[in-house]
């Protein structure tokens, strides 16, 4: 937040009696974001995610330097050497099955269990934060991380790609070519798609987090569920289940890389994720609002 924004906000009176939008500054949500993103662990997770595009770019750069022309690697990876703008996208797609869900699992699994483990949960409740409000703030914080994680990969990827490779108009899956700014927009769109994809997993993570006082357990359970979902999605024997699995549309982001953009999978994914958020959000609410806080 820059200094020039501060002055007018200062003049805004408190959010009265709940009328109108309360200012974000100084709110519990702002505090949650600060606490989340200033934490070393969160920064380390984002650094690991940022390492994925760096690793890919450096590896491709080195191999194409000796090989000249490539040895017929995966098509997307191969294109990197021609256009650096593919780095972020490739890194994100590579991270979707494991890196991103692990990151989300750590953050979402920690939401309530982490506070319980530190003992700060009881002080937040006595403040009083309100159990429903605390849950909403905690979920909103996890959702903000869902945006931050893919965004980090895409932005760092674009940066390192531009530094190591040529940058120019990008050919899409449909065969059309888009300009550099348009391709950046597409990359952000894909990041947004991944963010939406992770909302359901976050809700699962927050729910698991209300069940325990051991954050590591909640994190592990959340990541395990994410991987189980992907395994089931790969088994044709349970294909009736596939459309209901939270990971079903995780990799269906090809539609966003065509011209014109097809929003079908985006829509289906959003509906599915909203379902997960509702169901697991309700479960988390039922659990947190009735439980004895003994930690």
């Amino acid at each position: 937040m820059s200094a020039d924004q501060r002055a007018p906000r200062e003049a805004v009176p408190d959010a009265g009696d709940g009328a109108g939008l309360p200012s974000l500054r100084g709110s519990l949500f702002a505090s949650e974001l600060r606490t989340l993103f200033r934490r070393r662990r969160t920064q380390a997770i984002l650094a690991v995610l940022a390492g994925v595009p760096v690793l890919i770019a450096v590896a491709v750069r080195l191999s194409s330097a000796d090989g000249e022309g490539g040895r017929g690697g995966p098509p997307l990876i191969d294109r990197l050497s021609h256009n650096g703008l593919f780095v972020g996208l490739t890194a994100l797609i590579v991270s979707i099955p494991l890196f991103v869900p692990v990151a989300i699992g750590v953050v979402a699994g920690d939401t309530i269990a982490g506070e319980a483990n530190l003992g700060t949960l009881r002080y937040l409740l006595v403040a009083p934060a309100g159990r429903t409000r605390l849950l909403l703030v905690k979920y909103a914080g996890a959702a903000a991380f869902c945006i931050a994680a893919p965004l980090t990969v895409v932005l760092v990827g674009a940066g390192i790609g531009a530094a190591l490779f040529d940058v120019g108009p990008v050919p899409l899956l449909s065969g059309d070519t888009v300009s550099v700014p348009e391709s950046m927009l597409r990359a952000l769109l894909v990041a947004g798609y991944v963010a939406v994809s992770m909302l359901g997993l976050s809700a699962v993570g927050v729910f698991v987090s209300t069940l325990t006082e051991i954050p590591v357990g909640a994190m592990a359970a959340t990541v395990t569920l994410a991987i189980t979902s992907q395994i089931l999605d790969a088994l044709p024997q349970v294909d009736w289940l596939h459309p209901y699995l939270m990971s079903h549309y995780w990799l269906s982001l090809g539609d966003l890389l065509r011209t014109p953009v097809s929003w079908d999978s985006f829509g289906s994914n959003a509906v599915l994720q909203a379902g997960y958020v509702l169901v697991f959000g309700a479960l988390a609410w039922a659990r947190l609002t009735t439980r004895d806080v003994l930690s």
């Binding site: 709110s27 530190l118 700060t120 009881r122 403040a127 009735t290």
Partner: protein, 321 residues
């Protein structure tokens, strides 16, 4: 203080009726009727594991009561939790903070959690609370680097972030050095002087005796005594010690005066005086002399509050349950 101890619930900072908290295996609190008058400094005493913290959790709405009614600041809990808790500062079962945040940032976060706390005055109130517990110089340090005593102080600072009508302090002197313990005592006295009700739990009577106006004693989930400090002391017994070669005769005289069970051991005669309806000591001596008992020494020792406390809760080091 006595003029403020009137019994209606409106005058009570905390009142519970038949409060029970049972877990699957055991009953942690077995039906207690707390009565904490407004403006009192109430010492909530009892050995470890007697149900003090469980009671405090229920009072603050962290746990739900299995049975019974709870009113805090005249309002039913946990129904009116949202309007009651902003006026309550609490330290529950030791301090707990984010180790990766500074002391001041921890307080800011807790203050942000309270919807009624205005963000505009946050920095000022945080600074004032830190100053009050002597942590101004450590405000920017991460809590990870705090000593236990500093964390305890920070916990008390958190309880003092806003204007409070009631302070619930669970073992506030835990981990503090004697100097810190004295400071907490001063702090409690100061808060009470400002008109706040202070509910302070401790397993050490000596720590709260000097500042309390009222005392409640817990033992194995029950409230075994409650009242003003004077009332509690008055219900205690006294011990009579007589030095005489005529032990047998003396025991007879004492029995006639209603002091049964005198123990004669050589020249020492001891007897326990009940708190009520005791003949004056000089009358006992006169009666002894009249019966030709050679009184060589006569002392009457009032039981200390400490003895009373031990009598109520048991001496044992063992965990009762």
């Amino acid at each position: 203080m006595t003029d403020r101890t009137a019994g209606q619930s409106g005058e009570q900072a905390i009142s519970t009726t038949g409060l029970v908290k049972a877990y699957r295996r055991q009953t942690a609190v077995a039906g207690i009727d707390l009565s904490v008058p407004r403006g009192a400094v109430y010492g909530f005493l009892g050995p470890n594991g007697s149900g003090k913290t469980t009671t405090i959790r229920v009072l603050l709405g962290l746990s739900s009561a299995t049975a019974g009614e709870v009113r805090v600041l005249g309002r039913p809990m946990p129904r009116d939790l949202r309007s009651v808790l902003p006026r309550v500062g609490a330290l529950v079962e030791g301090p707990a903070f984010y180790p990766f945040l500074s002391g001041a940032d921890n307080l800011r976060r807790l203050d942000a959690a309270d919807r009624d706390a205005p963000a505009r005055t946050r920095s000022v109130r945080v600074a004032r609370a830190l100053e009050r517990v002597g942590l101004t110089n450590a405000a920017g340090k991460r809590v990870r680097a705090y000593s236990l005593g500093m964390k305890q102080r920070l916990g008390i600072a958190a309880a003092l972030l806003g204007p409070r009508d009631l302070l619930v302090l669970d073992e506030p002197t835990n981990g503090l050095d004697p100097q810190g313990t004295r400071e907490v005592r001063h702090l409690v006295a100061g808060l009470a002087a400002d008109g706040a009700t202070v509910f302070v739990s401790s397993h050490l009577l000596a720590e709260v005796e000097q500042v309390c106006t009222h005392v409640g004693v817990m033992s194995a989930g029950r409230l075994v005594a409650q009242g003003t400090l004077a009332e509690l002391a008055a219900t205690g017994t006294s011990r009579l010690h007589l030095l005489t070669p005529d032990g047998g005769t003396a025991a007879g005289v004492l029995a006639r005066l209603g002091l049964d069970g005198a123990i004669v051991d050589g020249e020492d005669v001891t007897a326990v005086l009940p708190a009520s309806a005791v003949p004056e000591p000089e009358k006992i001596v006169a009666e002894l002399v009249r019966a030709d008992v050679r009184v060589r020494g006569f002392t009457l020792a009032r039981e200390s509050l400490e003895d009373r406390f031990v009598a109520l809760t048991g001496e044992g080091f063992d965990v009762v349950r």
